[in-house]
Amino acid sequence: MLKSWKLKEVVLMSLFAVVFGIVYLLFLHVANIWAALIGPLAYEWMFGIWFIVSIICMYIIRRPGAAVLSETMAAAIEVLIGNAVGPRLILSGVIQGLGAEAAFALTGYKHFNILVLMLAGIGSAVFSFVYGYFVSGYAALDPSFVALMFTIRVLSGAVIAGIGGKYIGDALLATGSLRGYAIARTKKGDVNA
């Protein structure tokens, strides 16, 4: 998969993974404190934050695999920094990334408009929820409570990861530093790409 990639694209993902790895850990601690007050629901509405790197990287690099690889790298960086979620994070990173990747794959990696990005956020939310259902034992919770958690997570994925990811990507494009990447090339040609 990495054969056709330029090294600078891989390193870009890695550096984004560092920035967002720190942001992720920051929010993890905020969420943990919240969780004591309102339980697992605390994590749900901020879940979108943890999907954002895959959407930003795919929006910029536009190659198959950008979503899953960047999310995995961010998880790996989080593990390298050292935290109490540990190696399990890598697995959840892969799964969240696959969710976003699935949405981009569905559209054939051709469209990167706001709807597709939101769909990718939803994809991450759905994949991570299925995994969380298993690992965190949501089966022990009341079905209507689980449904509420699911709805909030999907909304968070669409809004925070989808819309937020596009916003950050566009803001970054405006700084002019992305000239060497796919996002800048297509923007010049046609607006809808």
Partner: protein, 251 residues
């Protein structure tokens, strides 16, 4: 003895930790995670050089989170039947429900302890090298991650620098932490733009020095799987099996 966990091959440890976590997810009785938690603690107490003060600091937020899990599962738990052991504010708590809530909370504790065991006994650089050598991670990815890891302290400096630069130019700091959280994009965008430039420069430097990203057959610093790994895998699996069987038997 105190070096055993540190000397293990990181990939072997990684696989063991992941397998243990997935296995634990199948158990909903409180004893299995409790036994496993105690087993892992014992392992870390006897076979590692852990800074326990730091360990406690890391565990704190997760203990708080575990408490959240405990009470939500009690209040919002699925109907499981069983006898009511106590009522509180109109909520009847059955013994089954209590056992499940306890199980989920202890699971959080067991997972966190296991993760900290990994974090406290694994050298990050060796971990990535081992992923590349034992688990066939692509060198492009492996060295890409290493570049990011090396930039970590630089990024920290840059964060303070941007913050100070903005304050110098009169950008006001918001009073409340949630307002500051929303203002994060003001720092995030310059950070990311800087990251893009750094990525380009370091990728260029790597290629200029002949890095192609092709898989290799020999490494400058080989990471191997040794006899310690076989023994320690045995110990891990014994703890896992004992807590799975013991937990099911006790409940």
């Amino acid at each position: 003895m105190r070096n055993l966990l540190h000397d293990m091959n990181p990939s072997v440890k990684f696989v063991l930790v992941t397998v243990s976590m997935l296995a634990l997810a199948f158990f909903f009785n409180p004893w299995t995670p409790l036994l496993f938690w105690l087993g892992i603690l014992l392992l870390q107490l006897t076979m590692s050089r852990t800074k326990w003060k730091l360990w406690l600091l890391f565990m704190l937020p997760f203990s708080i989170g575990a408490f959240g899990y405990l009470w939500t599962t009690v209040v919002f738990g699925a109907d499981t039947g069983g006898t009511v052991i106590w009522s509180f504010a109109g909520i009847d708590v059955t013994d089954e429900q209590w056992a499940r809530a306890l199980s989920l909370a202890l699971r959080v504790m067991a997972f966190s302890t296991l993760s900290l065991l990994f974090a406290f006994t694994t050298d990050p650089v060796k971990f990535i090298m081992s992923l590349m050598q034992q688990l066939k991670l692509s060198p492009k990815m492996a060295y890409g991650i290493m570049v990011g890891y090396q930039f970590l302290p630089v990024m920290k400096d840059e964060f303070t620098q941007i913050q100070q630069a903005q304050r110098l130019r009169g950008a006001e700091m918001k009073k409340y932490s949630w307002q500051r959280l929303l203002e994060m994009r003001r720092i995030l965008i310059p950070m990311l733009a800087g990251a893009v430039r750094k990525a380009e420069r370091s990728a260029f430097a790597m290629e200029a020095r002949g890095f192609t990203g092709e898989p290799r057959s020999a490494y400058y610093r080989p990471v191997r799987i040794g006899r310690t790994d076989i023994w320690m895998s045995g110990v891990f699996l014994v703890i896992l099996l004992a807590s799975c069987i013991g937990g099911s038997w006790l409940s």
